[in-house]
């Protein structure tokens, strides 16, 4: 999917906060139904962030930091959650005034809230549909009923294979393996993310099923790590913090 050319200039103006009137209304309506243009808008904001970088200069004065910390101390968020005692019986008149104010406030709020509820309901329906699709993908990948077929050159003997799909920006990893040799009891395979700098990072422990297939879906990973390669070692069942040599399988990014 590509960006709709007729909106391309206006998308840049919208990202800059400068699109007004009918053009803005038309574009916002289009964005509701067009994921490609929404993505382009997000990217244009990214381009703007790059432009902001060109201004880099002196650090803010020390007093600005102190001012922020002071303001934060005045609004401690944990304290907001603590129950506050209200001495109703001593000052009932104050309570009545508060109720009157609250009534006016809630009346004003209710209209805004009902609009927001309608918006949220729309978003929820969209998100549920996305979630449903995502669930189906994951269910297909992980299903024990799934038929997993690895295609190789005809007449070649079946080789162990692993495919790691990694999105750095999301720290998201999906790994699929096939034809993996069975392991002795108390042993498992461990997947490693080899970063461009630093030690290998554990990226999930797995045992192949009877057909030699296995999956690792979204193991916990530190954020934003650039992967140079992925590797597999054989480890104790509970996994290890550092790989035990030898590396049984390895692959670098394409």
């Amino acid at each position: 999917m590509s960006v709709h050319e007729q909106f391309a200039d206006d998308l840049a103006l919208l990202a800059l906060g400068q699109l007004q009137g009918d053009e803005r209304v038309a574009l916002e309506k289009h964005l509701e139904g067009c994921a490609a243009c929404r993505r382009e808008l997000d990217q244009l904001r990214g381009d703007m962030a790059l432009l902001a970088l060109s201004t880099a200069g002196p650090a803010p004065p020390r007093r600005a930091r102190e001012r922020l910390l002071k303001a934060m101390a005045k609004e401690p968020r944990a304290a907001k959650l603590a129950a506050r005692r209200w001495t109703w019986t001593l000052i009932p008149w104050l309570a009545s005034a508060a109720f009157a104010l609250a009534a006016v406030f809630f009346f004003w709020q209710s209209d805004r809230l009902s609009q927001r509820v309608a918006e949220l309901q729309g978003e929820l329906v969209q998100q549920q549909a996305q979630l449903e699709r995502a669930r189906e993908v994951v269910a297909t990948l992980t299903s024990t009923d799934a038929v997993r077929v690895t295609l190789v050159a005809a007449q070649a003997p079946a080789q162990p294979q692993g495919k790691a799909i990694y999105v750095r920006a999301r720290s998201s990893l999906v790994f699929l393996a096939s034809n993996m040799p069975a392991l002795p009891a108390q042993k498992a395979y461990e997947l490693w993310l080899i970063p461009t700098n630093g030690a290998p990072i554990p990226a999930g422990v797995f045992k192949p099923d009877a057909h030699g297939s296995a999956t690792v879906i979204q193991p916990p990973l530190p954020t934003g790590v650039q992967a140079k390669a992925f590797a597999i070692t054989i480890e104790p069942e509970q996994g290890s913090a550092t790989p035990t040599m030898p590396i049984v399988m390895m692959g670098a990014g394409e």
Partner: protein, 167 residues
């Protein structure tokens, strides 16, 4: 961010130490006034403190997001208008991670290099729109160029920046 959500002031201070120079520099460039830039800095971080839920990782990287929020807020101040953008709606998608000092200085150098190589008219249209908050109509009036040309220059300028980071 999780620590900030639970109200941890030292986590917020650490974020401030990492990103305040980006936020401050944008404010200063737009408003050309240290006091006003400090106000923007304060507002942006207090917004995050009051409502850390507005930012999550799906909105892009935090440095880029703060830069965009800071620019928008500074332009609102410059044009003396009420804050227009709802920060909860802003998603920023950008490649370089601005968290690390080294990666950030590399990105700064590259942005400046790209701006330096841009045709002067394109760069000035982009800067007028971005840092002065002029609308394309105002830029067209100021430069005597057709409206369509200005729109195209702004878009082409942003595209050039993006390309410099895709290579």
């Amino acid at each position: 961010m999780a620590a900030i959500r639970s109200g941890d002031e030292s986590a917020m201070a650490a974020l401030y130490d990492r990103y305040s120079s980006i936020v401050y520099a944008v404010g200063l460039r737009v408003l050309a006034d240290t006091g006003a830039a400090e106000d923007v800095l304060q507002e942006v971080f207090m917004q995050l403190w009051r409502n850390p839920g507005v930012f999550d990782a799906s909105r892009g990287n935090l440095g880029a997001w703060l830069a965009v929020i800071a620019r928008n807020r500074a332009i609102d101040t410059l044009r003396k208008r009420r804050p227009e953008t709802d920060i909860a709606d802003v998603v920023v998608s950008v490649e370089p991670d601005m968290a690390g000092e080294a990666e950030r200085s590399r990105a700064i150098e590259r942005v400046r290099g790209t701006l330096g190589e841009m045709p002067a008219a394109q760069r000035s249209a982009l800067e007028m729109a971005y840092f002065e908050g002029l609308t394309h109509t105002e830029i067209a009036a100021k430069t005597g160029e057709p409206l369509g040309t200005i729109k195209t220059r702004i878009r082409a300028g942003l595209a050039t920046l993006r390309k410099a980071f895709e290579a």
